[in-house]
């Protein structure tokens, strides 16, 4: 009863999503967004009409103007600097716009261009000094703040009366200042366009990545060939341009030049930047954060002003909010990865019925010591041969953990050579009709080695699932494969949540994290055909040529999936409840199938699989070396048929040569054995097996 409830709770409650969501980069913005929501709710309750259309449009106008400057500041902060001169630049650009319009009487487009150019020039001064002359950003912009402000004061002294006397009346200018399109102020529209571009720029474009890289580590960025100085200079220039856009809208809206224009603006902007969660250390930040920060600051300022709070208190509150937000933000950023590592691993209920007995004399699984008499190939010379395969010239191929495909030459398999170097751990292997060797490489995908020893990538991504939070398009652990008559390749991916070396964590979860993928060489597509499998592993085309037999290692079962014919898409269980963990499946000479058992079930783990809470706590509190593991120190090979009958079993009980067996191939009366944690390949003489059996010939016909 309790077990049933537990099973339901773990089947329908997606524990694993929390960790996946938290590991998304955008959750870094979570804290500022929550602060924004709280402030919005508080203010809308305190101030009637705070969220009305008119109120929002008004806020939107201001938000747009400051927002541009915050974007510029964000850019500069992300690249690892700071720009204190934005307030003075803002004032100068405001003056420039109004001077061109009111004094020089330029047309509006020319005014816009001139103002932007003015902003760019002012920013470029910062950029030159900081980027190329490598002055300190803080000091430099502090100095330009003073210089620009003095220049503004001097100009103001000469021209303020002239500017104030003119009353330009251009519809286009008025539109810039107060225009509305479908209820949205013009400034907001432009801001949206710039913000969207900024987002794409920072997250998708090469220069944007350069900016983040420089902010993250200037030296590394330089070493990897990024033009650090130019990029920094351009960032300050961009900051100047963005400030001038803000100033342009400000000039068009208010049309005034005064002594207090832009005074203290840098503090407001900086507050918004930090509040949004853009780290002053550089390298971290986004447009969304800049926007959220801007809104928080504006809401607080406007809200408090509406509530007739005096200016001093207003600034105190702002500072207080900044302090609290910065503290929370730092704690959150610092502990985020720790929280994720705590919640990402989410074991689920996995109930298995008691396994069949393996006691001597108990049936097909009865233990014996027949594998004691193997001859060893490559002892101590090959490491981690997960799969072994023989070509039709009797040469033996095996993977190694150094990322090589090794070849042992017939007839005595004493001579070993590197057949091809790939770079990742080779797992399952199969020959196609044209003698190409297809190999699943853990962490890399599906690769092909031509008879000329050329290594080619076949595929390393599949279609992304609709409902997955993690991006599951990349292949993490392609495991074993087989090739259908029409050339389609079916391969298993053991887990989509972990890397190859983390397979025990997947075993701890015991969730269906794996899938089976089909690569079609006829049109070059890769599609996922089956999902939610418990560590799918061995794959073998069944006798009808329309289906595959596949092993689910942690599911302890063999299943069959039809990809063609009348039963297309169906999955049936062939053998359930195996006493061990099935691995690779391969053809036997008598038309049955060999199955490698990488390890055997133990009652302690079977029980733990029914107790997800226990496993979760174990995962957190016990180091991985001490975890309760699937026992893969004893394995065996069994023979079964498509009806699910187990016909025979071969054991190495003392575990001297083959403690774990991950694969086996029959070839000319011998069985060749591989194991991923082993340093040898075993060769076992099969009594009564067809001495002429070659898998390649059986599969593709005796050619040539």
């Amino acid at each position: 009863m309790q077990d049933a409830l537990l099973r339901l709770r773990y089947r329908y409650w997606p524990d694993h999503l929390l960790g996946e969501i938290l590991s998304k980069r955008w959750t870094e913005t979570a804290i500022p967004v929550i602060v924004l929501l709280i402030i919005t709710i508080l203010l809308s309750r305190a101030i009637p009409g705070f969220l009305s259309v008119g109120g929002l449009a008004d806020t939107g106008r201001q938000a747009g103007e400051i927002g541009f400057i915050v974007l510029g500041m964000a850019l500069v902060v992300i690249v690892g600097g700071i720009d204190l001169s934005v307030g003075s630049m803002f004032a100068l650009c405001d003056f420039c716009a109004l001077f061109c319009l009111n004094v020089l009487n330029w047309p509006v487009p020319a005014v816009i261009v001139a103002t932007l150019a003015c902003g760019a020039a002012l920013g470029a001064v910062n950029g030159l000094l900081i980027g190329y002359l490598r002055l300190r950003a803080f000091i430099t912009t502090l100095i330009t703040l003073i210089i620009y402000r003095s220049a503004y004061d001097l100009l103001l002294f000469d021209y303020s009366n002239t500017i104030a006397a003119a009353f330009p009346d251009f519809p286009s200018w008025n539109f810039v200042g107060g225009g509305v399109v479908a209820g949205v102020p013009s400034v907001v529209l432009v801001y949206i366009v710039v913000a969207v571009f900024g987002h794409v720029f920072l997250t998708r474009l090469r220069p944007g990545w350069h900016v983040t890289a420089i902010g993250g580590s200037r030296r590394s960025a330089y070493n990897s060939g990024i033009p650090v100085r130019r990029t920094i200079a351009l960032c300050y220039t961009a900051s100047g341009v963005l400030t001038s856009i803000g100033a342009l809208f400000f000039a068009a809206r208010l049309g005034t030049v005064g002594g207090d224009v832009g005074v203290g603006l840098e503090v407001t902007v900086l507050t918004a930047t930090v509040l949004g969660g853009i780290s002053l250390g550089g390298g971290k930040g986004s447009v969304a954060k800049a926007l959220v920060g801007t809104l928080i600051v504006l809401f607080v300022i406007n809200g408090l002003t509406t509530l007739s709070v005096s200016g001093g208190v207003n600034r105190m509150v702002l500072a207080g909010v900044l302090l609290v937000a910065a503290t929370i933000d730092i704690r959150w950023l610092k502990n985020r990865t720790r929280i994720i590592s705590k919640v990402y691993v989410s074991p689920t209920y996995h109930g298995l019925a008691p396994a069949a007995s393996t006691a001597p004399g108990s049936g097909p699984f009865a233990q014996n010591d027949r594998l004691r008499d193997v001859t060893l190939i490559g002892l101590g010379r090959i490491e981690a041969p997960e799969d072994v395969i023989l070509d039709r010239n009797d040469n033996l191929y095996a993977g190694s953990r150094h990322g090589d495909i090794m070849r042992f030459l017939a007839p005595d398999y004493q001579e070993m050579e590197v057949f091809a170097h790939i770079g990742g751990q080779p797992l399952g292997m199969a020959f196609d009709r044209k003698d190409n060797l297809y190999v699943c490489i853990g962490g890399m995908g599906l690769y092909r080695i031509t008879p000329e020893r050329k290594v080619e990538k076949v595929t390393d991504e599949t279609n992304r699932s609709l409902y997955s939070v993690n991006d599951d398009s990349r292949l993490r652990l392609a495991d074993d494969l087989d090739i259908a008559d029409d050339g389609r390749i079916f391969f298993s991916e053991a887990t989509i949540r972990y890397e190859m070396d983390e397979w025990p964590v997947d075993g701890l979860e015991a969730r269906g994290n794996g899938r089976i993928i089909c690569y079609d060489p006829n049109n070059g597509t890769t599609r996922t055909v089956l999902r939610g499998l418990k560590f799918p592993n061995g794959i073998c085309i069944a006798s009808d040529g329309q289906s595959i037999l596949f092993a689910e290692t942690f599911g302890c079962s063999i299943k069959r999936y039809w990809f063609d014919g009348p039963k297309t898409g169906k999955v049936e269980t062939v053998i359930d409840n195996l006493p061990g963990y099935p691995d690779n499946i391969n053809l036997a000479s008598d038309g049955n199938y060999w199955l490698a058992m990488v390890g055997m079930r133990s009652p302690a783990l079977d029980l733990a699989w029914k107790m997800p809470g226990f496993r979760k706590r174990m995962g957190k509190r016990v180091p991985i070396d001490e975890w309760l593991f699937p026992n893969i120190n004893t394995g065996c090979v069994i023979k079964f048929n498509e009806r699910g009958e187990v016909l025979d079993s071969l054991w190495d009980l003392r575990g001297v040569n083959h403690p774990m067996i991950t694969s086996m191939r029959e070839h000319r009366g011998y069985l060749y054995l591989g194991g991923i944690a082993n340093n040898r390949i075993g060769r076992y003489k099969l009594e009564g097996a067809d001495p002429g059996f070659v898998q390649y010939d059986r599969r593709w016909g005796k050619s040539k």
Partner: protein, 365 residues
Amino acid sequence: MIAALKSFTDRLLGRGDATITVPSFDGALKPNQILENAEIVAQFDAPEDLATDGKALYIADGAVILRLDGAATTEVRRFDRPVTALCCLPDGGIAVALDGREVQVFATPSAPAATVTFSDSSMQAINALAPGPGKTLIATDGSTARPYRQWVHDLMERGRSGRVLVLDPASGSIRTLASGLAYAFGACAGGNDIFVSESWRHRVIAFGADGSPRTVLEHLPVYPSRLSPAASDGFWLTAFTARTQLVEFVLRENAYRRRMMAEIDPEYWIAPKLKSGQSFLEPMQGAHIKTMGVVKPWAPPRSYGLVIRLDADGVPRYALHSRVDGVNHGIVAAVEMDGALFAIAKGPGRLLRVRLAGIEQELRG
């Protein structure tokens, strides 16, 4: 109230008593393979305890007591129940515990009948005997809840019912020196004190002449067992099995432990053992994976072989090991005789001999 709150937060945060950390084999306990490479003197079916009168070695093997002179073993006496403890008395007699429930004292090893028999209904798991002060006999009773052979049940039930008894052969009286111990297993008199191993608390305690206890040695990475005097001052402390973080963790996981004890054969529990690696049905831990044909000796020990040499104050001087990749595990008894240490490895059923000459210089140099 505060204690309850503390134990709650400890459990929540995995602190204090709830920590599952295990000290490492370090300092005087630095690993070696001396026990693993020790000479195998003899092989027995069910060796349990050792004793010596200085001239010969007596071995309790199942229900039989054997005498070892040089290489020859002779049967001294045979009982109808398994012998769970054995000791030689200073007056030339021997004392044996039968099935943990009865203690018999014989005037000589081959005396026809027992001079005194202590049998008390509360005796359940007498697992060690030692001569005490003033012709008394000290006995440790591991648990009053479980018989001796079910020591692993007592551990997994977090047994706290061990006792130290003082038996007086002159009057036939039984005095309880201490009770409520987390498995008392092994005792030895030294100076005016009585040293006792408290296995489940991983420590050695000493009772003074007035009966007051003090902790001599604590935070051991193993479960200590029988003690015997060393020839030159000090003691030999055996450790019948070692601790692992997984077992410590399971000891704190009540639901899992209950179900494990109810549903699984004790052979395959997540629990310490006297020998391991016999079956794939045993639980396997991460570091146990045989890689490139090798089992790592530093993997978490499901079974282990260890004898620690203590000085007269109970401070470890050096230790003899048989590590995880070895077989001489489950050292339940060790006695020194003729410049050699004899030890019973109960796991493989072996009697081992280690020559002690120069060993301390080698290990501490």
